[in-house]
Symmetry: none
Subunit: 259 residues, 2 copies
């Protein structure tokens, strides 16, 4: 069962969070990516209306959140901990990117609880807290301004987890590409129409049609689109034909009257 | 020079943002990933102390933000627009993931301005706004709770951009893509022409134009191609106009209104 949803074995642990709004925003970020288990180590204010407001529908995550008084309590039963750091520290432990680390975390989460550990808004994790982790992760950011909001960091990491968890299946658009004959029929129709409306009096037909072919080759026309485009061409020429016929009819009449 | 930092050619456009705190948080998210250019279409409140508070040091991004009164103003000069959507819509235009789309955006940003377009907190982008984009992007999320906070969405996409930028190798495009204004000018011309030749007597104009927008969004029109297409449109109507004028000149008794 565990293997079917490794995400259900991942806890997000927030240590000594100062602003309750960030707890709510983190809960929302978690839920959007299919994470549910939130652990809070000595939050300054929780529960709090600010947290509820920022959760914006992730109130079940807040309701089930576990408030702990120490990091050891929060990591109880956990077999693998990834700690987030904003700094590329002068430490011997390897610092990975989220993209490198999340597949590892998922592997571990297949069978047992794992944790993602986030420090305070101002100072991050203490050295002691970081010592509890197996892997450090740094979200690559601009060297001059590397301070991600804590909920934004939760969002990025949860997103990487979610992408790793399910190689995303994009919505396959149900297209009905036109056949070769339909496309050729369209081009023939267009060329004929351009002659009829007098476009080729100033343009080289072969060169122009080549350009138009390239344009429509890139777009991969669908059957219905060809119907629309040919409908436009037909209306244009019919309109011209009616105008011309009526003009000639009435002009001839006029000429006869003059005689 | 452009090639050295494509990120400097990327605008983040937020349409009709309701909460100023989200604008500030989005500015912070942008700056952590090296993005600077923020465009705001009719924000409800801006500038605002809430925005400043949430920017938390990204006040230069807010200070340089451009407030616009329309999407066309915000996209002026832009050659490639990626629109974010929370829904996998029932549309035939392809929806990409951030990981697929951001390298494309970077390539386009090598030489000219590009845009990342985000809708409102409650309802996202309108169909009309989405019609201005060449690519739609959906951040994969949990089906039961897919509502990312707008600043969180900006953070995820900016992060993907930043990661992509690290392995960025510019390929010099051989094409001369049309700007947003040129493309919009073409659509306006086409709509006017279709009215004039009577195509909309049997078709729903809005729906039809939406289909045609999708078709041409896929093809990435070049400037010269727009000149050709508008030339065709002009000839079609000019020919009609000449016929009409000549008819009216030579036949003073009737009108062609019922043709």
């Amino acid at each position: 069962m565990y293997k079917q949803n490794p995400l259900s074995h991942i806890r997000v642990v927030l240590s000594h969070t100062t602003h309750p709004g960030n707890i709510g925003a983190a809960a929302r970020a978690m839920k959007t990516m299919g994470l549910h288990h939130l652990y809070l180590i000595n939050p300054r204010l929780f529960p709090d209306p600010q947290a509820d407001a920022m959760a914006a529908g992730a109130d079940d995550v807040l309701r089930d959140a576990v408030v702990c008084s120490s990091i050891d309590e929060a990591l109880q039963g956990v077999v693998f901990t990834v700690a987030m750091t904003a700094r590329l520290r002068d430490i011997s432990i390897e610092v990975k990117t989220p993209r490198e680390a999340m597949p590892l975390l998922l592997q571990e989460a297949a069978t047992q609880p794992v944790a993602l550990l986030f420090g305070t808004e101002m100072s991050g994790l203490t050295n002691e807290e970081m010592g509890k982790a197996q892997v450090l992760v740094n979200i690559p950011s601009h060297p001059d301004f590397s301070s991600l909001n804590i909920a934004a960091a939760v969002q990025v990491v949860a997103y990487e987890l979610s992408v790793a968890a399910q190689s995303y299946l994009p919505s396959v658009p149900e297209i009905h590409p036109a056949t070769h004959e339909q496309v050729e029929g369209f081009f023939a129709h267009m060329e004929k129409t351009l002659f009829e409306i007098g476009f080729f009096t100033t343009q080289n037909p072969a060169r122009l049609m080549q350009r138009l072919r390239r344009l429509y080759a890139r777009t991969r026309l669908e059957q219905e689109e060809i119907n629309i485009l040919r409908g436009i061409l037909s209306i244009a020429t019919e309109y011209n034909a009616r105008l011309r016929a009526r003009y000639q009819r009435e002009n001839t009449k006029g000429t006869l009257n003059d005689v």
